[in-house]
Amino acid sequence: MTGNDLAIRVRNVSHQFGEEGSTQFVRAMLETSLDIRRGELLCLIGPSGCGKSTLLNVIGGLLTPTNGKVLVGDTDVRGPLPQEIAYVFQENALFPWSTVLENVNLGMMFQGVPKAEREPRARQSLAAVGLSDFANHYPGQLSGGMRQRAALARALSLETGILLMDEPFGALDEQTRMVLGEDLSVLLSRTGKTIVFVTHSLGEAVFLADRVAVFSARPGTIKEVITIDEPHPRKPGFMTSEKFTSLRNSLFALLHEEIRKAMEQSTASERAARRGAKS
């Protein structure tokens, strides 16, 4: 595979929070390498605290890793790349003091889109997520699912080649997630963007991804990458198919052991913290 087919190259990235030996010290990621192809949707899945979001923030230039590097195209990532990468965050990152339309416009203003282009592009991306009628609502007046669609519209309006999504539906209920997942699959199959999507839902990963990268427990590194060979846009019927179930099961088998390990880690560290507090 030539470098041109790769949108993002992650090379031996390690990251730690805090100084070694201090109580806040956490080795979040260890020697992680990953190639992300142009136009694919790659899901990062793993136990909580395994460094999925850390990797996403390193790719997005919001976090400088302790070791290793990330290349976007041929550029070494040293900070946010607003022309190449747009973000959809887990929580609602819309500005509550601005309307939905103003939020989308602000994003383009930050990115440097000329004023005359902003309004039509904002209308277009709001139409794409089905929020045309809510352009003048404030985020607080929308449901959680609508807010995340608005956040997606803001990211789409930036017309970047890469979209990073950090558990964008994490705070939503199961039904809303399913519907949004379907809509997302339809929407994104049309745009040809490269997408990195962090989730902890197995079903979501299988339903959306071209490939799923499974993280190990902390210090996180990629244990295995599974290919989901099913054309986009995916139909709801895929979710009840034999293929879906068997993929989901093999993903579960891979993850199960890591989740156990992660839980043992967290109880161990809690016990250590309690001991520390007593002495």
Binding site: G60, G61, L62, P80, P82, Q83, I85, A86, Y87, F89, E91, A93, F95, P96, W97, S98, L106, G107, M109, F110, Q111, G112, Y138, P139, G140, Q141, L158
Partner: protein, 271 residues
């Protein structure tokens, strides 16, 4: 003191809950409030007309009303009011400008917030009126000592709310703005400022109120002119009816200013 930023969620909840039923109960409690004030004045009237209360200690409300009409008609109040309001305007301008500027600078680093916020909150809890004798020594009996006291009392709520406003902006807003390429100026203008604005506004309103209170108060303690000075002057001359008229006038001015600042705050918050 550090008012929570009014969240968008609670804003929409407030919109929905503005039902006619609530309006009626608000109207009801307003009627009780008015009735209470009328009853109080009625008691005052009955007590001074038919009771054994000395008119020097508590004059009849009708006499006070006549005096008030006279004060207003002769425009006698203008000089004192102008002095008090000038002191207030100068004191508030100084503390607003310095409180917001310094508060913003402190809020730029978590370290300086940790150092200065408890320090300022500590000084804020000291009864600042205790500095008045010192200020009179420094600045004399004229307006300068009143301005100094007004600045000292209103500076703290303003700077503390400014730190609370700028210092605790949700990290996700900053990250998302940065990821979209916001410059330092854009981050300030479109993220930090709108996030902090309602909280700073609350600080300004509190600062304004305490500045007015401390200026009126210090005028009654040691001064050459101003509304507070006039009230003490009349009390010392046993002219209690006119003194009460001036108190009523000062209360009316304070109420008006408070209503104006509160409605300015409410209007700015709605945006």
């Amino acid at each position: 003191m550090s008012a929570e930023p009014e969240s968008a969620v609670s804003k929409s909840a407030a919109l929905k809950s503005a039902t006619p039923k609530r309006d009626r109960s608000a109207l009801g409690s307003r009627a009780v409030q008015v009735a209470f004030v009328i009853a109080l004045v009625g008691l005052w009237y009955v007590g001074t007309t038919y009771g054994q209360i000395s008119p020097i200690l508590l004059p009849n409300p009708l006499r006070v009303f006549d005096e008030l009409v006279d004060v207003l008609a002769t425009l006698e109040f203008v000089t004192d009011l102008r002095i008090t309001l000038t002191e207030l305007a100068i004191a508030f301008s100084i503390s607003a400008a310095s409180g917001i500027t310094l508060g913003y600078l402190i809020s730029r680093s978590q370290y300086s917030i940790r150092v200065f916020e408890p320090l300022l909150a500590g000084i804020y809890s000291v009864p600042i009126i205790l500095f008045l004798p010192l200020y009179i020594l420094f600045f004399g009996l004229g307006p300068a000592s009143k301005i100094a006291l007004g600045v000292t009392t209103s500076f703290f709520p303003i700077i503390l709310n400014t730190i609370a406003g700028f210092g605790y902006v949700d990290r996700i807003f900053v990250l998302s703005a940065r990821s979209m390429g916001a410059s330092d100026y854009q981050l300030f203008r479109w993220v930090l400022l709108p996030a902090a604005f309602p909280i700073i506004l609350t600080g300004l309103r509190i600062g304004f109120t305490v500045a007015l209170l401390s200026i009126l108060g210090s005028e009654t303690i040691a001064s050459l002119a101003g509304l507070g000075h006039r009230i003490v002057h009349l009390a010392e001359g046993m002219d209690t009816a006119r003194m009460f008229a001036y108190i009523a006038f000062a209360v009316a001015i304070a109420l008006t200013l408070n209503t104006v600042t509160s409605s300015l705050e409410a209007r700015a918050r709605r945006r």
